[in-house]
Each structure stands twice: as C-alpha cells, then as structure tokens.
Symmetry: C2
Subunit: 327 residues, 2 copies
C-alpha cells in the first residue's frame, strides 16, 4: 500500500479518456510512488457539444471516490484529464468540468490535455524533447517548453504514416499482390493474411469494408508484418519505410539547437526489434543528435505528472488553450 | 436516326449498372452504329440476396420499352448486363433475370458481366489483351480468350493502387506534410488543398472522416495533383509512382507469349499527359511488347458488344460463371 495522504499531503487525480474507455489514477500529490488505478470499459460519450462533461463526471466521480476511500480518504489538490480529440471536442469539458470538480472534490485546479500531451508527459515528464505516440495511428509531439509542435496524427486516410494501420495496410497490399501476381508481392504475408482473415484473399474486401473499425482491422495485421520481417524482404521493407516515416515525424517536432531527447510510446513499439531497430537507424541518420528511448510511462502516468505539477505550481509544459488548457 | 430493326434484324440491349445509376443502350443486333441510350440516376438496390433483380427490371423494362418504341418497335434478341459487384452479388440476377426478360421481351438470351468485363469489351471488343479500368478505383483485366486474369480492384484500403483515390490520398499526404513540416511535403499541393477543402488543413480530418463517400472525396483531389505535376516535383513523383502501380497491374494480367494490346479506360485517364505520359514510359519499360491505347468505348458500349456477340452466336470472350456468366 502506498503512503496515505493527509490533509497536508493531498491527492491528485489523473484521467485518461479514449475510445476503449476511461482510466482513473489516484496518487499522492507530493510523492512519486505508483498510483492506484481503476478502469471503466465505457468510453465517454461525444455529443453535439463535444466530449460530454456530464457523462465523464458520472464515471469519474464514483471511481475517484472509491480510490480515495480505499486509500483512507483525503482531499484532492488537482485533476488532469487527457482525452483523444480534446483540442476540437473539449468545449463542454472546458465549460462545465471546473464547477463539477469543485462540487465533487472541492478543487477547481484542472488541466485538460490532448492525449498526445499526456503521452508526452508520461514519456518525458516535463523535459523538452519529442515524443512519438503510436498505436493504430501515429502522432509526434515536441516542445522546447515555450510552445508545442505537432506532426501527423491525421488519421488513416491522410497520414498516421508508419503507425499500426499504415503498416497493416501495406502488409495486406503486399498480400493482395501475391494473390493476383503483381510486383511487390509477399507470399509469406499472403499466407498470414489467409490464416488471420480465414479464407482466400478475394473475400477480404467483403470482410473489411462493411466494418466501422477498419483502421483497427488494418492495424491488427501489423504484428504479422513484424513476425514475417526477419525472413521476408517485403515485410522488412515495409517496416523500414514505416521507420523512415516515423523518424520524419520526430524530426519535424524536435526542438532545435540542442541535443534532443526522443521517446517512443504506445502499443506499436511492443512489436520490438523488427520496427525499433530500423527506427533507431533512421533516427541516427535523420537526427544524429537525438537520444532515443522507449518510454516507461503511458498517458495515464502523464496525466498524473500534469496533475502533480499543477498541484505544486511547477507546471513547465506550455499551455496554449488547445494542446494543454488550464480552465 | 440509326437504322430501325426489322423482325429479321432485331435489337440488342446493353445495360451498365453502377453506383451512380443505370444506363441502357439499344442497338441493332447486326449493325455497328451508335446505340440509343437512356440513363436513370437511381442506382439498383442491393439487398440480402445481392443486386435486386426486381428493382433492376422495374427500371430496365420501361427504359428499354421506351427506346424500342422510339425506334419504331421490334424484337429483342439478347441482353447483356454489366454491374459492379456482379461476381459476389449477382445471385439474384442469375436466378430471376432470365424469366423476367422472357416475360418482358420474349428472350432468355442474357449475359451477366462484371463491370470490368464490360469495360474490357468496350475497350478491346473481343480481342485478347489487357484493359486497365480506372476512376476512383483501379482494376486490370486480361484474357487470352481462354480465361480471365484480374489484378487489383481491391478497394481504397487494400489496393486500387494508382487509381483516383490513391492519387488523391498521396496528394493530400504531401499537403499535410507541408502543413506540419515533414519531409516529402508539397507547398503547392497544400495551397490547392486549402483552396479545394476551404480552410486550414488541420480541419481537413474533421471534414473527411465523417463522410460515407471518403474514396470519392480523396479521388476528387487527383486532378489537382495532375494540375500541379508540371511544376511540382512531389506531385510529379506521385503520378510517376501511380504509373508504376498501373503498369504492374497491366503486366500481371497481360496474356503472355504474344505482342499484347493494352487499353486504358475510365475517367482517370481524362487527366491526360501528366499521368498518361509516365504510364506509357512505365509500360514501355515493364511490357516492351505492348501496344498501348486510350480506349474509345466505355462499359455501356462493352455491354452492347457482349449482347451483339450473344445474339449472333459469336461470343469469344471466356465465360466462367463469375466474370462473365451466361445463365
């Protein structure tokens, strides 16, 4: 059990809200021990006013209360909420969340962050540098602590170059080429696609296009590309091109003038060496001064970093009303 | 006015059914003059049994009757229907259309063709060769008159490499790269995208992803890529890569052993020299024995070719139950 907070050492609450649900973390404002966490599988609704502040509080209120009670009670000094779509869909949160938090926990200290910002803070804390956050999609975010720079994150039809859906789509393209005999084909990827999607590949369009989660379906094939890469030159080439795109996004956001710290975070990098080795090579070529690491902390850890800094008055990451907003 | 058919020289009916509606052509079975045509803007419905034969006949019956009456009457010797999705969604047509045509026109002579087959027949008639049909998507179809070979046509997430959506998407990727400062960017394409999509490019994802006609939206940007190509190396490079993919599809389906006739058909090639010149160069490199032409005839012309051959007993294109089916 982590140290309980006293009225002098209150709690902070970090929140990570996304397509797969809501995660809440409770941590001592002053400590650095692991937070207590709870997860809800119900994604916060998005309505005409954007991300629904009422629906968020319906879940966050009881979850945070349960965590606080489980830890022996205590006050809340600050809350940080990271969410996908915060910049464009955060209007209702900006407007209604401060009063709602005041009512529930007696604090109006709130940070509203894009999920890329919580990913950044989870990976690099409050140090300057660049973070590439990649799962189904891919976005790069960098800061010199004066302003944010963002690259890609435009979705599977306009970018997300080198992300999970991008890699999976390139792998399936190579599989289809093996099916119909075009150049650039990979018999190994064809065999894996037939196994994973359970049938001949002329049936794959009929299985993919009717679905509403097409980017996730594409991304589900990315690990197969990584699995084939050690013995299949087409798969290896796909991951090398992905690495080049990822490095390009990192270059675009790295603060200039100094040795840059580049952190890789998100589920995509769990595929390990087949992607990370060519990516380290690409970064060495495109950003020779960079120090590259795979991040330990995730966006929920980042929300806790933001909430602690807010509580302590030590927030150094730039707040600009879009990427990171203090209502 | 074309020559009226007599009971000895009856009519044939060609049909082209697709996402934008239904086109019907009436032509003398024996002649080669231009057909009379009618167009309906109502696409034939697809139901649980596939393309709805009843809905097709509801439109085709009156349209063909109007054409026949306008031409002075006469009998129908054969009907050919080309449709998108025929191979997978043609079950209801195969089952119910022969009896329906018999009731309406007194003929059971019917050819059901994939739209790629009517595109082929419209471009090359009944000669062996290869046809690339490209608009929003892209498919290549070839035959040695013994069997069909098909390449690509897998849709905007699995292929259609070099088609309209593919080119538009690559152009918008280069525009987004100019917006956020990544390598491979094109300021010219960024300017065109801001003009065409009416605003800064960080708003483009919010305009594109909610739509249901995303491939068409992407393809709408392809002409801008062609327009930029003469003075923008990134746009020029996109069209050169498109040309390489298109040539790869043609190579995969070209009948081997002889000098191959390759015809290009569909709206994509209306963009002219910026795409056609690099494509001719790619085909010269990948298929040195090919004779390349841009087709005169379209899929509706191809349906008339099939119907005439069926009426005359001179059908040479292979029928295999999928690409071309004679119920």
């Amino acid at each position: 059990m982590t140290a309980a907070a006293t009225p002098d050492v209150p709690w902070v609450v970090g929140v990570d809200s996304g397509g797969s649900g809501l995660r809440v973390a409770l941590a001592p404002a002053g400590g650095d021990g692991p937070p207590r966490t709870l997860t809800s599988r119900e994604p916060v609704r998005t309505g005409p006013a954007g991300i629904d502040a009422g629906h968020l509080m319906q879940q966050l209120g009881p979850m945070a209360r349960e965590l606080i009670d489980g830890a022996g009670g205590g006050a809340v000094a600050a809350v940080a909420v990271g969410s996908a779509g915060m910049a464009t869909l955060g209007g209702d949160l900006r407007e209604r969340l401060p009063a709602a938090l005041d009512g529930a926990f007696g604090t109006r200290r709130l940070a509203l962050a894009a999920d890329a910002v919580t990913a950044y803070a989870g990976a690099l804390g409050q140090r300057p540098g660049a973070v590439v956050a990649a799962g189904t999609g891919l976005i790069a975010l960098g800061t010199d602590l004066r302003s944010w720079r963002r690259a890609d994150g435009w979705g599977h039809l306009l970018g997300d170059c080198g992300g999970g859906a991008w890699i999976g789509r390139a792998g399936l393209d190579a599989a289809m080429r093996a099916y119909d005999g075009r150049r650039g084909c990979s018999p190994a990827l064809r065999a894996r696609a037939e196994a994973v999607f359970d049938g001949p590949l002329n049936e794959l369009p009929g299985k993919l296009y009717p679905r509403t989660d097409r980017p996730a379906v594409l991304a589900s094939f990315a690990p197969e590309v990584a699995r084939c890469a050690p013995h299949d030159p087409v798969a290896e080439g796909i991951l090398r091109e992905a690495a080049r795109h990822i490095a390009e996004a990192a270059v675009a956001v790295c603060p200039s003038g100094t040795e840059c710290e580049v952190a890789l975070t998100g589920g995509l990098f769990k595929m390990g060496a087949p992607l990370v080795v060519p990516l380290e090579e690409e970064l060495a070529a495109q950003l020779p001064a960079a120090r590259v690491s795979v991040a330990d902390g995730d966006p929920l850890d980042g929300a806790v970093v933001l909430a602690r800094a807010l509580a302590a008055g030590t927030l150094r990451l730039p707040h600009d009303g879009r990427m990171l907003h203090l209502p």
